[in-house]
Amino acid sequence: MKLRSAIFLASAAIALAALTLTGAPLLAADDKIDPVADAKAFQKFFRDKFPKVKFEDFVNGPYSMNEDLYRQWQDKEQFPPYEFSLEMGKEMFSKPFKNGKTYADCFPNGGIGIRQNYPYFDEKEGKVITLELALNRCREANGEPPFSYVKDEMAALTAYMAFTSRGKPMDIKIPNDPRALAAYENGKEYFYTRRGQLNFSCATCHVQSPGERIRAEILAPALGIVNAMPIYRSEWSGMGTTSRRFTTCNSQIRAVPLGPQDDEYRNVEYYLSYVSNGLPISGPGARP
């Protein structure tokens, strides 16, 4: 009971902080928005809540919350269900477009080992650029039609790019640009705002209730949740990207999902990735 009230108090503090900040979004941003302090408090919250979980294990979602599940997962990793998608992504990545160029030409370091730097804030455009968005822009710049953001080819490509980055610590930067801070703050606000007929925020499940079960399913901690993307979900019988996770979460709480890669989703991913800085990339992942 004491632990539970402590959790509620901590979430109250977070929610209150979000409320206070969102109450005055136009006030001098750099006075109030403090991503460094946010990330520190966010990570401490999860470490304190789960003192037995090794820090780098938070990227394994529900498997980090339960010993039996963890063992099952390790067995499963012998023949991971995302392997087919990963192979497909590797093949797609090296196959040239009709104009002879490849994905490697669009990315730093030929696109290898760079997953931990996405999303980033583009100061020219004034917006957050996710890996999925950058991939479709690369295609379009080379005369190819864009892929669906939620699964199949997009999941395969991001699976391969995550795989080449496994173990690298998430390394999201917030440049000294008020628009970057505003994007971060907007993502944070979205994350803690209740919505939908069921009246849930992202935080209701993934900050207040990680490790708890909803029916047979164990809720994943928000810390490190993006590090495992994309994921193979048994529930989907297939792969899904971060976009798929955001849109289906919103449908499940009976809210109207935004379009994949809408500004707000990009901002949420920016916030969530930033507060997971330092945790290793583990994608592609497998989830029940």
């Binding site: 109250a12 007929q197 069921l198 009246n199 207040q208 209730s209 708890e212 079960r213 909803i214 029916r215």
Partner: protein, 120 residues
């Protein structure tokens, strides 16, 4: 005095009438409890089982407290109705959806769920 004690022949029809009046009521109460149980287990309706342990439900969730001894914990029916309507009024940080306020369940459905809860 004797007219206060009806004869046996007069008593029987009276009893029969009482039974006839009482049993549809009991049957109705039972069907409301059954309906409430159905709503509580239905994923698209109350879906209480997703977060609460409930006797008779498989694979319950763990977010909320076990739903047991409800009558002793909440002797007043209106307290249960209020919790189902909008628990955020009592606890702003609750995970529990506001079933009444957000029209997830109708008033009648909430009544049926409360009938069921009171049997736990």
């Amino acid at each position: 005095m004797t007219d206060h004690f009806p004869t046996k022949s007069a008593k029987l029809p009276a009893l029969a009438l009482l039974v006839a009046l009482a049993s549809p009521g009991a049957a109705q109460a039972q069907s409301a409890v059954d309906e409430g149980r159905k709503l509580a287990f239905d994923r698209s309706k109350g879906n209480c089982l997703t977060c609460h342990v409930i006797k008779g439900g498989n694979l319950p969730g763990t977010i909320g407290p076990e739903l047991v001894d409800i009558k002793s914990k909440y002797p007043k029916r209106e307290d249960l109705v209020a919790i189902l309507n909008d628990e955020t009024l009592r606890n702003p940080l609750t995970v529990m959806p506001p079933f009444g306020r957000n029209r997830i369940l109708t008033e009648k459905e909430i009544d049926a769920v409360v009938d069921f809860l009171q049997t736990l």
